[in-house]
């Protein structure tokens, strides 16, 4: 299989098809990330579309020391922030907030009647403050490394470790009954 780096190189040399292959490879992941961050199909579609347009036009600015996937998710994250800024879905400051609560009780969390563990878990992840939610999604869903997450979010590796740790503690606490049930 052709690596991302090879496709990026081909795309830079004017092969549109290589850009198309990169788009096909990441369209679902990028859209899913936007969808999970924004909880809104239409806004996520807009953010994903802008992400790929910027990927197509800005590929020349990609540094060789940054993995393509991390660079793409950094663009997607910025687009999510733009949507948030324009539509005021989530308060902007909550993306940079590391001092306040990890859990946001205001977000709907109705899991009592739901037996699907994936839905229960996603509802719980949606209750995390955006700064923590994005760390969990980038690590556990998109499988990025700490360095890549730090590059995507513009923070340090230490901050990423801390956010993941706090998120996991609170998810553990909130999901204790459901995951103990599974274990039995």
């Amino acid at each position: 299989m052709i690596t991302d780096e090879e496709l990026v190189s081909q795309f830079r040399n004017g092969e549109l098809n290589a850009g198309g292959m990169l788009y096909q490879r990441y369209k679902t992941e990028v859209f899913s990330f936007c969808r999970r961050m924004l909880n809104d199909q239409e806004s996520a579609g807009d953010a994903a579309q802008e992400t790929f347009l910027k990927m197509m036009t800005g590929i020349q600015s990609l540094n060789h020391h940054i993995a393509f996937k991390a660079w793409l998710f950094a663009i997607a994250r910025n687009e999510v922030l733009m949507v948030v800024r324009h539509r005021k879905i989530i308060p902007m400051e909550s993306f940079h907030d590391e001092t306040t609560e990890v859990w946001d009780e205001k977000t709907p969390f109705s899991i009592t009647a739901d037996n699907d563990i994936q839905i229960i878990l996603m509802n719980a992840v949606n209750c995390l403050k955006p700064a923590y939610r994005e760390a969990v999604l980038l690590r556990d869903v998109e499988q990025l490394t700490y360095e890549e997450i730090a590059a995507v979010t513009g923070t340090t590796v230490g901050s990423v470790k801390s956010k993941l740790f706090k998120s996991r503690v609170i998810l553990n606490e909130k999901l204790r009954p459901y995951f103990e049930e599974i274990k039995q």
Binding site: L16, G19, T28, L121, F179, E180
Partner: protein, 140 residues
């Protein structure tokens, strides 16, 4: 090691980001602390479940916009199709074609000499008609 540090290390361990020097103290703590063992098990289950979440499909309308830009949909015809061949296979094919062409030339030359031989034999066996042997037509 206290439970706070233990859980921090567990979080890093599950991400394969824990430095090896902390493994021994962590395992020692896990052997003694049931709360941290439960934390490890639950966090691993949560991580596994998150890793298997189904993706959301990109809306068709957005996907079509990129198709309009002729991105991602390659129009392949027989004439613009690219084929990649590994170098060793390409070299072997070249040698094979070269040897085949030598054999072909050899075969053609051999064929030519055979024809010449047949011609010579024919020349030897064939007696050309001379004027004396020719039957002239008689007219009344």
């Amino acid at each position: 090691m206290n439970c706070q540090t233990g859980k921090e290390y567990i979080s890093q361990l599950l991400d394969n980001e824990l430095e090896s020097e902390f493994l021994q103290p962590l395992f020692q703590h896990l052997a003694e602390c049931s709360e941290c063992r439960s934390f490890y098990t639950r966090t691993r289950s949560i991580q596994k479940t998150l890793g298997h979440l189904p993706n959301h499909e990109l809306p068709e309308l957005v996907d079509q916009k990129f198709a309009v830009l002729a991105i991602g949909k390659e129009k392949r015809t027989l004439m613009n199709r690219k084929i990649t061949i590994p170098v060793p296979s390409a070299m072997l094919s070249g040698v094979f074609v070269f040897m085949l062409s030598i054999l072909f030339v050899f075969f053609i030359r051999n064929l030519q000499s055979n024809f010449q031989y047949v011609d010579q034999k024919f020349e030897m066996n064939y007696t050309r008609p001379t004027p004396s042997t020719l039957q002239m037509p008689q007219y009344n």
